[in-house]
């Protein structure tokens, strides 16, 4: 079912992916024989951020029920991607997330309330993209792939040692922009990594209606872009693959396309009814491949994680969530003047007149 990954320094940079997803830790938490796993400390840190991320995610879903968020797209089940990929980023690298990737933002260190501005609805974006080098979460599907390529190319032009990591959904891989981005990246040899989180669905549309390819990673060869197919619920594998791709990018070896096979446990958003398009069995089978459990078992077996540490992390996650809940219970301060201030660098006379109608002169 799965292929063992070689040591990350030597992850092959083939244009074609392996037939089966690469894996380093099995669902039951065992190291795949022959695999070179990341450092225990790295994995423990990933574990910690995944636990916090999941707790954050549950809290955000709860906030929708309390009317504190307009909508929330959960990434429950996708934490290996959300956190493993971000853990591989260096400070100077950029992350280009989608609406699905709030947990990745939190893992990157973006303030959780600022992360949720978009979904609370007080502004389109709560954080300063330059603070953590995190582009605005992107809703028009696949459009951010081009921004990532452009930013990465600019880094190369400027001689900066920085790469870009862009998240793409399986559905979004069908958009023309994804193709153009992979093509520009290939031609420019841009330091960019495309991580396709193939969670099996684009809202209700299953992968079988999205693509007839052997894998989405098979798109890479059509652009001369190195490709990998990995187990997206294996945090060690995601980390290793993204890190190796980022290192290749930084070393001038060009872009990489990684397809990570994962699963969205919750509905598309709190407003979606997943029972219309998928069965409980399928969800259960993926719950058995839970990325946090997997790493928990692995780290426990290696005595890196004990019940004390587990409790400490759980407590930290709980504190994170309750602080978030408290902060989200306060109504945001909203001044409609902001609507007119940033349309242009300097508001036009017409906009100043219009603003005056709303906020008074």
């Amino acid at each position: 079912m799965s292929t063992v990954a070689t040591p990350r320094q030597k992850l092959s940079r083939d244009l074609l992916p392996s037939a089966e997803p690469l894996q380093l830790i099995t669902p039951s938490g065992e190291a795949v024989p022959g695999g070179h796993l990341p450092d225990d400390r790295v994995l423990l840190d990933i574990y910690r951020r995944m636990v916090i991320g999941r707790r954050f995610d549950a809290q955000a879903t709860a906030l929708t029920r309390q009317g504190r968020l307009a909508v929330y797209p959960s990434s429950h089940g996708q934490e290996a991607c959300e956190v493993g990929a971000v853990a591989a980023l260096r400070t100077q690298d950029w992350l280009f997330p989608t609406y699905r990737d709030c947990v990745a933002l939190v893992a990157r260190g973006v303030d959780p309330v600022e992360t949720l501005s978009l979904l609370r609805g007080d502004w389109h974006l709560g954080y300063n993209p330059y603070s953590h080098r995190v582009a605005p979460q992107c809703t028009p599907l696949a459009t951010n792939t081009l921004h990532a390529v452009g930013l990465a190319r600019a880094a190369a032009i400027k001689g900066e040692d920085a790469a870009a990591l862009v998240f793409v959904g399986d559905g979004a891989s069908s958009e023309g922009d994804t193709h153009e981005a992979l093509n520009f990246a290939g031609v420019w040899h841009a330091p960019v990594v495309f991580l396709v989180q193939n969670n099996g669905y684009a809202i209700s549309v299953p992968l079988s209606k999205q693509s007839a390819a052997p894998s989405l990673a098979h798109k890479g060869v059509g652009y001369g872009v190195a490709s990998m197919l990995i187990d997206g619920n294996d945090p060690a594998m995601v980390y290793t693959a993204v890190q190796s791709a980022l290192e290749a990018a930084q070393a001038g070896e060009g872009p990489t396309l990684i397809e990570a096979r994962t699963y969205r446990i919750e509905a598309h958003t709190n407003a979606d009814d997943a029972s219309r398009y998928r069965g409980e069995d399928e969800v259960l089978s993926w719950l058995a491949r839970d990325p946090i459990d997997r790493l928990d078992r692995y780290l426990t077996a290696r005595s890196v994680l004990d019940s004390e540490t587990r409790t400490r992390i759980a407590d930290e996650a709980e504190a994170f969530a309750s602080s978030l809940r408290d902060r989200m219970n306060a109504d945001p301060m909203l001044d409609p003047a902001v609507l007119f201030e940033h349309v242009y660098a300097t508001p036009t006379p017409a906009l100043r007149r219009q603003a005056a109608k709303v906020v008074g002169p």
């Binding site: 809202i203 549309v205 209606k209 398009y277 902001v338 609507l339 906009l351």
Partner: protein, 333 residues
């Protein structure tokens, strides 16, 4: 003009009925797009159709809007009548080239030899607390494009009859569905036979003509009730072509006009309404045609949209500024 249902239905339901009835009436009709099959659409407008008519006629596509419209064009070339959905207003933009350079022009390009009876359904507008890109009013882009018909219903019964007419029309139709009215109910029976290019006087009045369409029709009617002058409300229904006869007859009678829409004012649909009504009614007008619209800004986030959307207060204020006392005070730009 056959009555189809007399139960009060929501606009979403009326549209669903229209699609079902069109699929029944004409086997060349297909319905496809993102999530329109198994899920029945994110607004449930296509609910049940895939089961009822089969996956060959109602189906989910890969996620690519240019692909959806482009393949619909190819299907129409081959004699089918596709009805496709763009999931939200802003997500029709990837299909802009296909719509503008082909859908709108192939009939003309082929001197009428190729008909393109494609309907592109676009849920549009705000007022539902949608995050960015889910509340655009993009009608002006398409209404400016010669060769397209642009239609938008303001009531459930119009939604039914106009969608039926759009599907039967040999021209390509951009069918804008005001998403905040999806749950609005209307007791009128669902009928066919409504012409595709006729505005309708929703409420007669004598002092001022209030021109609205789609999502602002109920707001306009509410404003008319609240005004202390007699307001005639016109629901345009067809944005392209524009029904000059109905609108100008009204304005020549009332001598005053206000046009309302959610899109930004600047080159918004109201600009054309103001320009052409003024061209045709200049000497009947006591004041310039007023525009009550969204501001010239990107659509606001959910918590601020109330400041943006035209509402009864703003419409009443515009009516009040229509120089009733013949003072010559210039309105704001």
């Amino acid at each position: 003009m056959t009555a189809v249902a007399a139960e009060p239905v929501t606009m979403a339901r009326a549209l669903n009925r229209a699609l079902a009835d069109a699929l029944t009436a004409d086997e060349r009709v297909l319905v496809f797009g993102e999530d329109v099959g198994t899920l029945g659409g994110v607004f449930r407008v296509t609910d049940g159709l895939a089961v009822r008519f089969g996956e060959a006629r109602v189906f989910d596509t890969p996620l690519a809007e240019a692909g959806i419209v482009g393949t619909a064009i190819g299907m129409a070339m081959n004699g089918l009548r596709p009805v496709v959905e763009m999931q939200f207003d802003a997500f029709a933009y990837p299909a802009f080239e296909q719509i503008t350079s082909h859908l709108a022009k192939l009939h003309n390009r082929t001197r009428g030899r190729m008909e393109l009876p494609v309907v592109v359904r676009i849920p549009y507008g705000g007022g539902i607390g949608g995050v960015e890109h889910h509340s655009d009013s993009s009608e002006a882009y398409f209404a400016h494009t010669a060769g397209l018909r642009v239609i938008t219903p303001g009531t459930p019964s119009d939604a039914y009859s106009l969608l039926r007419a759009a599907i039967e029309c040999p021209d390509p139709v951009i069918f804008f569905e005001p998403k905040r009215l999806y749950w609005a109910k209307d007791p009128s029976p669902l009928t066919t036979g409504t012409p595709l290019d006729a505005a309708v006087v929703r409420r007669p009045g004598t002092d001022v003509t209030l021109i609205a369409y789609g999502p602002t029709v109920p707001t306009a009617l509410e404003s008319a009730e609240a005004a202390d002058v007699s307001v005639e409300v016109i629901d345009l229904r067809s944005l392209a072509p524009f029904d000059d006869a109905t609108v100008c007859a009204s304005v020549r009678r009332t001598g005053r006009a206000v046009v309302v829409h959610e899109a930004p004012a600047f080159l918004g649909y109201g600009a054309e309404v103001a320009a052409r009504v003024t061209e045709q009614c200049f000497h009947y007008l006591h004041a310039p045609v007023a525009r009550v619209t969204g501001f010239d800004i990107p659509y606001p986030p959910p918590m601020l949209e109330k400041h943006y959307l035209p509402n009864v207060d703003r419409i009443l204020a515009a009516i009040e500024r229509l120089q009733w006392d013949d003072t010559v005070e210039l309105p704001d730009a």
